[in-house]
């Protein structure tokens, strides 16, 4: 039996270029299912940042643009304002969203711009080979923290941070690829909230076996451990 891919995925560009065991495949496939089920593909515009997610530039049969480092949010905001009927979805990593693109991310939340932003958190800059990210945990060894020493005590908690500036109508949640049905529900809620005219953000905890240097079992265990710090759930309903 052929695997049942979402209709909005482009089979011509598969298999994708993500590393074996990467979490992005699960996230993008789930997002594709949500887009199909909500029947919004004809009016969906997708934007990717720089980082591993740039590989999704031709993942879907959806109008898609690769932006620059950390710039996915303002591009989505700019597009949506010009096309209110659209479903505008942007995706970025934790580096793109919480370091170089933090200002734009927080201000979109502050202005309550009706876009759906997905932030994929693997606590590392993965595309560039594993550097310290704003989400890295105390003691985490990365290429730029070889002794696991850096100055901040706690990682950036994206949805919780956004709540400080976001409108009370914003949707803010954290899901995980370890709980796909829950993540799928969050993605659906985030698109619905955009359609209701408000900012929506879902952070998704994901694994990076390449940079974590973990096998399948260790990847799951590492992610479970991370979820003790990055608590999965709806932060602003």
């Amino acid at each position: 039996m052929e695997p049942r891919y979402p209709k909005c995925l482009d089979p011509k560009t598969k298999p994708s270029n993500f590393c074996p065991g990467c979490g992005y495949g699960i996230i993008l496939k789930t997002l594709g299912q949500v887009i199909d089920e909500m029947e919004v593909a004809p009016r969906t515009v997708f934007a990717v940042d720089i980082g591993c997610n740039l590989l999704a530039w031709n993942y879907y049969k959806l109008d898609t643009i690769q932006t620059h480092h950390g710039r996915v949010t303002p591009l989505c905001v700019g597009y949506k304002r010009a096309n209110r009927e659209s479903v505008t979805i942007g995706i970025a990593g934790d580096g793109g969203l919480y370091a170089i693109g933090l200002q734009s991310f927080l201000h979109a939340a502050h202005r309550d711009d009706p876009v759906t932003i997905i932030g994929v958190n693997n606590t590392i800059y993965a595309m560039t080979g594993g550097q310290l990210a704003p989400t890295s945990l105390l003691g985490q060894v990365t290429d730029t923290s070889p002794q696991g020493k850096f100055t901040y005590e706690k990682p950036v908690l994206g949805p919780e941070l956004a709540k400080e500036m976001a409108s009370s109508s914003a949707y803010l949640a954290r899901g995980s690829i370890l709980n796909i049905p829950q993540m799928k529900g969050m993605l659906k809620a985030a698109i619905e909230r955009q359609l209701a005219g408000h900012f929506a953000f879902v952070e998704i905890m994901s694994y990076c076996p390449t940079n974590w240097k973990t096998d399948a079992q260790q990847s799951i265990e590492t992610l479970e451990k991370l979820e003790e710090t990055f608590k999965v759930g709806v932060i602003n309903a």
Binding site: P42, W57, T64, Q66, H68, R71, P74, G78, Y79, R81
Partner: protein, 346 residues
């Protein structure tokens, strides 16, 4: 159409011209001396629900929002200056590689750094080749308010006709001055078209996996730019046919130089002016033709030689004339100063 003179500031003129050109959407961030244009748009948009306005958190976001608007098919534009102009090069190079009709007015400030806030001609290199640009953009340089009115309209048309990012490079002297403008000179506006959610699915990328893929993409863009350049390039040669001295100047200084040439001609001095109207593409042929009789070339500009380097590179093989420099980085240059300099070297 009958001449219709109105007393306007350059800021009013940019706004009026943008609206006549069909601008529908403005995204920007305040910075002197360009802020008044943004304020003007915000006021217009408050009264007209068809006009969209977004004040962003910085200029990179403003430029990215402009790109979003362009993908939706709205004539979207912005204004900026100085360090804002530096930041906006990030989205501008994205517009270059995606061939997007990004329109931007720049009010030049003194530099490097935040320098001064009203006037200079020091953002020329940045406008022509800022970021990691290959110069796949058009840069217009109006020299007076009437020209500002016409060039701003033209910039939108050039951007949409040829799908090229287009910059209008001005300064605060130009936009803060009140002058009579013939506003009957309206140019028919090009049509805009949505890129996204229009016909075929488009997957746009700026990051290529292989060097040969990017090279192929760039060679197409270069060929298109070369073809478009022949239609776009513009300059003014004023009394250069028999000129012993040809002044090279642009923008506001170009206008001062023209006044100087007119005065000097009354004193039977064989002086002319070459003034580029498009700073990129640059009218090499026009420049070479203008110096055929010249034994001296006076380069006058309010920078440390950004324009002079273009002139000397362009004319390398074309003339043995002596170069005289009137470089006043960050400072204005009057017609009297140019006249005095010509008399000194004549």
């Amino acid at each position: 159409m009958a001449v219709k003179k109105e007393l306007l500031t350059g800021n009013d003129v940019v706004l009026k011209a943008a609206l006549l050109a069909g601008a529908e959407y403005f995204a920007g961030y305040p910075i002197t001396p360009s802020t008044e244009i943004m304020n003007g748009w915000a006021k217009e948009a408050a009264d007209n629900p068809k006009l969209l306005f977004l004040q962003t958190e910085d200029e990179t976001s403003a430029g990215m929002a402009v790109i979003g608007g362009l993908l939706a098919g709205k004539k979207t534009w912005t204004v900026t200056s100085g360090v804002g102009h530096i930041l906006i090069q990030d989205p501008l190079v994205l517009a270059e590689t995606l061939s997007l009709p990004f329109v931007m007015y720049v009010g030049q400030r003194g530099g490097p750094s935040t320098g001064t806030v009203i006037y200079s001609q020091q953002e020329l290199n940045l406008a022509r080749y800022g970021g990691n640009s290959e110069g796949l953009r058009v840069v217009y340089a109006p020299s007076n308010i009437q020209e500002l009115f016409e060039i701003t309209q033209k910039a939108f048309n050039t951007a949409w006709r040829y799908r090229l990012p287009t910059i209008i490079l001005g300064d605060g002297y130009l936009t803060k001055t009140l002058s009579p403008v013939d506003t009957s000179r309206v140019i028919p506006a090009e049509k805009a078209e949505a890129i996204f959610l229009n016909k075929d699915v488009k997957n746009l990328r700026n990051c290529f996996s292989r060097e040969d893929e990017l090279a192929e993409h760039l060679n197409i863009l270069f060929a298109k730019y070369a073809a478009a350049s022949r239609q776009i390039v513009e300059s003014e040669s004023y009394k250069t046919n028999d000129a012993k001295i040809v002044i090279f100047a642009w923008g506001t200084v170009g206008f001062a130089a023209k006044v100087a040439v007119a005065n000097l001609r009354k004193q039977n001095k064989r002086v002319g002016l070459f003034r580029p109207i498009t700073m990129r593409p640059f009218d090499d042929r026009g420049a070479i033709k203008a110096v055929q009789k010249a034994d001296k070339i006076l380069i006058a500009e309010s920078s440390g030689g950004q324009f002079g380097r273009i002139v000397r590179e362009t004319l390398t093989q074309a003339t043995d004339a002596e170069y005289v420099r009137l470089y006043k980085p960050a400072e204005g240059i009057t017609s009297e100063e140019i006249e005095a300099k010509i008399k000194e070297i004549y």
